[in-house]
């Protein structure tokens, strides 16, 4: 399966070509994205997962390699599906820059998920933030320019930290391959281990939107167009989550014996609190979604930081629910805000009565984010709560605060849903019913997971299994150890 490289190469070639394609860019965007998606599905179906591709024939610890395991392929699919859904809302964009940046983003996020090498991960991360900054700046007004610049400065600073961490890893272990690092890290002394982890973590937390690394979030979301929001959420965000799972859980599993995991618990609780409370008074729907996605990442991080397999499973449920729900919400926001030419949700009053499917999808997504039963988010919340209560005082206090924050979340989300359904005449507004389709399907998936979790449970256990048996399922495959 050496052809897996095409997932990165083809979008990169497309990025170059986009300079010349002009009007064909949109078509190219669809073709490349579909290619990526279909290719990933083929890989999933081919049945020879897990496998390891050594680029240029250099064997694992020395060369650059792409790895495809269960986790990889699921996240690959998530990234590419998000890409496909997001580009459906791209219209009337003529500038080739947008398309170039998009292709770069696609290549970078695919690369982030595929790579088995620390330095490449850094490179792809840098590339994707670069692309996102460019896409955020697309609107060319004051807000988006400021947001993009500030995001760029923050992420460059952060990436330099991770570069330093990579240098340290190379200095101490003499390798940059994930599997090799994982194998050798345990021999490292505690202080160096912690320093490496801290430096790397601090750059990764920027993408994971954890407070206090997340000051870019709200501005970037507010300043960019909806499709870019969906890129940020569905592609960059998902790839970042993949990074967190791969690197924290498989490469640095010893983290849980240090105090860093406790600091992470505290930070994630703060993130949730700040995200939920910040959204309480907000009127701009996009900003609300930004705050909320921050909070959801906090919940995810909380689950990861707890470190029990059940809580990780809960965190993964949260990822799935947040992934689907936010896509739905951005799609709905896009349609509604276009219709009333405002992002203030109060202006969207009454739209739900005329276009109920969009509003119902939004409500379902919101309920899932709130962790309501019969929706996907509930299983995540339930797992995290149960495991948090078993893990001592800090996590108990943490989960209590998290639950109270979810009350706030419930209030502001259902307030929005209510506004959609409120009584008001909205005859002048017109939205094509076609746009209801994707939100509806996504919302139906949320509902299906909520009611019948068996299917997704199986997949998540595969993921957990890989984390649990990392030496067998990941390290040895790559290093071809028997």
């Amino acid at each position: 399966m050496n052809s897996i490289v095409f997932l990165v190469v083809i979008p990169l070639i497309a990025a170059f070509l986009s300079l010349f394609l002009e009007k064909l860019n949109k078509l190219a965007m669809y073709i490349v994205t579909l290619f990526n998606l279909i290719f990933s599905i083929t890989v999933l179906m081919s049945g020879n997962i897990p496998f390891n591709v050594a680029i240029g024939g250099w064997r694992a610890p020395f060369g650059i390699n792409f790895v495809v395991t269960d986790i990889t392929i699921y996240f690959l699919l998530l990234v590419n599906i998000a890409a496909l859904i997001s580009i459906t809302v791209v219209n009337n964009i003529k500038e080739y820059q947008f398309y170039s940046f998009y292709f770069v983003l696609l290549a970078a996020t695919n690369g982030m998920v595929l790579t088995g090498d620390m330095f490449n991960f850094y490179l792809f991360t840098e590339l994707s933030t670069f692309a996102i900054a460019g896409l955020v700046a697309y609107k060319r007004d004051r807000l988006s320019t400021g947001a993009a610049l500030k995001f760029l400065i923050l992420s460059s600073t952060a990436s330099l930290f991770s570069l330093a961490s990579i240098g340290l890893i190379y200095k101490t272990l003499g390798t940059l391959n994930f599997a090799d690092i994982a194998l050798k890290l345990s021999k490292l002394n505690q202080a160096s281990y912690n320093l490496i982890l801290i430096l790397f973590l601090s750059s990764m937390l920027v993408e994971l939107k954890i407070f206090p690394f997340n000051l870019w979030v709200v501005k970037s979301y507010e300043g960019s167009i909806t499709s870019v929001n969906m890129f940020t959420h569905g592609m960059l965000g998902t790839a970042g989550i993949y990074g967190a799972i791969r690197i924290l859980l498989i490469v640095f599993p010893n983290m849980y014996s240090t105090n860093i995991s406790k600091v992470l618990i505290i930070l994630s609780v703060f993130t949730v609190l700040i995200g939920e409370v910040g959204a309480l008074k907000e009127k701009n729907l996009v900003k609300i979604l930004a705050f909320s996605s921050m909070a959801q990442m906090g919940v995810f991080m909380f689950g990861i930081a707890l470190g029990s397999f059940e809580s990780i499973k809960g965190a993964l449920y949260i990822v799935v629910s947040n992934y689907l729900a936010k896509l739905v919400m951005f799609l709905v926001t896009k349609q509604y805000s276009n219709a009333v030419e405002s992002k203030n949700y109060i202006d969207m009053k009454g739209l739900g009565r005329k276009y109920p499917i969009l509003a119902i999808s939004f409500t379902i997504a919101a309920l899932s984010l709130m962790g309501m039963p019969f929706f996907a988010g509930f299983w995540g919340k339930f797992s995290i709560v149960v495991s948090a209560l078993a893990l001592g005082k800090l996590s108990t206090i943490g989960i209590a605060i998290l639950l109270i924050a979810s009350v706030v979340e419930g209030v502001y989300y259902l307030r929005i849903s209510h506004t959609f359904f409120a009584e008001k005449d909205v005859n002048s507004v017109n939205i094509s019913r076609v746009y209801s389709l994707i939100p509806f399907v996504l919302a139906a998936i949320i509902l299906a997971i909520g009611i019948y979790p068996n299917f997704i449970e199986q997949i998540l256990w595969n993921v957990i299994d890989e984390i649990k048996n990392a030496p067998d399922k990941y390290i040895n495959i790559i290093l071809s150890l028997k």
């Binding site: 400021g146 947001a147 500030k150 400065i153 923050l154 600073t157 930290f161 202080a191 912690n194 320093l195 801290i198 430096l199 601090s202 937390l205 407070f211 206090p212 690394f213 000051l215 870019w216 709200v218 501005k219 105090n259 860093i260 406790k262 600091v263 930070l267 409370v277 910040g278 309480l280 008074k281 907000e282 709130m370 039963p373 019969f374 509930f378 299983w379 339930f382 797992s383 709560v385 149960v386 209560l389 209590a400 639950l403 109270i404 979810s406 009350v407 706030v408 419930g410 209030v411 259902l414 307030r415 209510h418 359904f421 409120a422 009584e423 019948y452 979790p453 068996n454 449970e457 199986q458």
Partner: protein
């Protein structure tokens, strides 16, 4: 068993499809409720019915199983709530003819959760249904109206908060007992209380708080008035009669058995600490609810507080922890369901015809809506707990239980509340229906038959349960017997108290009342004829103000009805303002929210905060 849950669910989908056709939806709604009632009737006595779903979802190392089962007490709650719901849904057909929004879809979903709550076999199922009920209520209350949003938000926040507490409680309990089954975990909790008291009581209090929130007991008594005053009236009828009992049901099957058999420190040899906690909460709710109800000017708010007081009675009955008190409480649950439904239906009818819910703007409606008046009259007689109607029996049993356990404070609170009930109930009666009819309501008509029939049936039911309490007590006592309580199945008309020689036969009470009325009616007919004259004949002393070019002013004494009384209590009520406390929580959150928004709005400190974050991590990782 499963079709009982599936039918409401499928109906919800169908209703959602037909949401724009009111006639179809409400008829379907009625039919579904009819089916539910019939189904419930047919599963009476088959206590081994159950339905289980095995999921692959792993929690606490085991795969989760969700299940519903036909448990006797749950059946008792479910059956009577289904009966009331059926009547309300009949009323709704007429009531919703002109409404702009259609609440039936979300209401059907609530009925689904209603059945789920009453039949849940394990805490997870229970919790799922509980949460479902919380957010669906939010949408049902607002029903597209902005003015209802505040109350609905308040309710939502409280129920989400309660659900969060319950989730914690369920998880901790499952960790220690290893099971999610409700009855098994009750036993487990008892053992936890006996081995490590603090933890056990902590879990119990978490559960209790959740249930108190839903049943509007003391610290959480504010939501009914906020919600009832703005929600759609027919749904509010359902809410005030049925939904407010959701907190009582788990208390009856879980809290009461555990508290009753736990080995805890006693107070004055009459009851343990938790028993008194429950009792005091109930007593405060009963008294506070009564006093606040007396001061309301909005009739829906008045009856909202009356609900608070009634929930207080039920808690008082529980706190006695005797079988009579327990039976009395459960009996009062159904009685309150019936009489509150009857009262709120009449209020809905009044609002339907006049569009007004401030009592002092109404008056004299008895001239125009006699049937509504009669229903209301019987409703308030029942609510006041006056014998030939149904509120009496249960209140009597509760007082008996309290007296036999020598819980004097609670007994006095109970009497205070039920005497106070006369005050607010009569005030509502006088202000809405009696007195002089304002000119603007001259053309008000009696409600149409679809609305009149359920009201009439309500009257019959109230009288029936008042005179023949066996129609409720027989299923109740059989249910209690089926779950293992040591009780005799009650007879049709007698109620048994717990003191010496305290068996009352409500049939005799009714006969005596009839005898009294007959004697008095004889007196009445014995007297000389009376003549029916219009109000002004007497009121303006036989003169005709129109002739002098002035209109006869119509005024009722109804605005500051209990002003002297209010002045007595005002300082007290101002000093204990729970509402202010909750409002200040809301304000603090909003202030915090603006601060956070400010932080994220500028965004230039990103790198600084980033560095702080790194320092924190270093602090955690390297130094500590």
């Amino acid at each position: 068993m499963i079709e009982l849950l599936l039918v409401p669910l499928i109906t919800t989908l169908v209703l959602a499809f037909f949401i724009r056709y009111k006639r179809i939806t409400w008829t379907l709604f009625l039919a579904a409720n009819g089916f539910v009632l019939y189904k419930l009737y047919s599963i009476y006595g088959i206590w081994n019915l159950s339905y289980k779903v095995d999921t692959a979802y792993k929690i606490l190392g085991a795969e989760l199983t969700l299940g519903v089962s036909n448990n006797p007490i749950g059946w008792y709650f479910a059956f009577f709530s289904a009966l009331i719901t059926l009547l309300i849904s009949l009323f709704s057909i007429g009531f919703n003819k002109n409404s702009r929004s259609n609440v039936s879809v979300i209401w059907m979903l609530i009925i689904f959760s209603n059945l789920g709550i009453f039949f849940a076999q394990d805490w997870v199922t229970f919790f799922m249904m509980w949460e479902l009920m919380g957010w669906t209520s939010f949408f049902a209350i607002t029903n597209g109206k902005d003015k209802a949003l505040d109350g609905a938000k308040y309710y939502l926040a409280l129920s989400l908060f309660g659900a969060a507490l319950m989730l914690i409680a369920i998880s901790v309990l499952a960790q220690y007992t290893g099971t999610f089954q409700i009855f098994a975990s009750a036993y487990g909790l008892l053992q936890i209380i006996n081995s490590s008291t603090k933890l056990g009581i902590g879990i119990l209090l978490l559960f209790l708080t959740t249930f108190l929130i839903k049943s509007a007991i003391f610290p959480f008594y504010m939501w009914p008035q906020k919600v009832y005053s703005e929600g759609p009236e027919d749904y509010i009828t359902f809410m005030s009669s049925v939904m407010i009992k959701y907190g009582i049901y788990p208390m009856a099957i879980f809290i009461v058995p555990v508290v009753g058999s736990a080995d805890l420190p006693m107070i004055l040899n009459t009851g343990n600490v938790l028993q008194y906690t429950i009792g005091y909460l109930g007593a405060i709710s009963a008294i506070l609810g009564t006093i606040l109800a007396i001061f309301q000017t909005d009739m829906k708010k008045l009856f909202a507080y009356s609900s608070v007081a009634n929930m207080g009675y039920i808690l008082l009955g529980f706190s006695s922890m005797t079988i009579v008190g327990f039976e009395g409480s459960l009996f009062h649950v159904v009685n309150h369901m019936i009489l509150k439904a009857a009262i709120f239906l009449t209020l809905a009818a009044v609002v339907f015809r006049t569009g007004e819910s401030e009592m002092h703007k109404l008056g004299g409606l008895v001239y125009r809506m006699p049937l509504t008046f009669m229903t209301f009259l019987l409703g308030i007689i029942a609510a006041a707990g006056i014998p030939p109607l149904n509120g009496f029996g249960s209140k009597w049993m509760i007082i008996q239980a309290l007296m036999s356990k020598r819980m004097v404070v609670f007994a006095i609170a109970m009497i205070f509340a039920s005497t106070g009930a006369f005050m607010y109930l009569f005030r509502a009666l006088a202000s809405i229906f009696l007195g002089q009819l304002p000119d603007r309501y001259k053309d008000v008509k009696e409600v149409p038959p679809t609305m009149a029939i359920p009201m009439f049936i309500m009257m019959v039911i109230m009288l029936l349960t008042g005179v023949v309490p066996g129609v409720v007590m027989k299923p109740l006592t059989s249910a209690l017997k089926a779950v293992g309580y040591n009780v005799e199945v009650a007879s049709w008309t007698t109620l048994e108290g717990s003191l010496k020689n305290s068996v009352i036969d409500l049939k005799i009470v009714f006969y005596m009342f009839v005898a009294g009325v007959i004697i008095s009616a004889l007196m009445y007919f014995f007297g000389n004829k009376s003549e029916k004259v219009p109000q002004n004949d007497n009121y303006t002393a036989g003169e005709y103000p129109e002739e002098w070019g002035v209109d006869a002013d119509r005024f009722n004494y109804s605005y500051a009805f209990y002003q002297p009384f209010k002045e007595m209590f005002e300082p007290l009520l101002e000093s204990v303002s729970i509402d202010g406390f909750f409002a200040s929580i809301g304000r603090n959150f909003e202030f915090l929210s603006s601060t956070i928004q400010g932080l994220f709005k500028r965004g230039e400190g990103a790198v600084l905060l980033f560095s702080i974050g790194v320092l924190l991590l270093i602090l955690g990782g390297l130094i500590i």
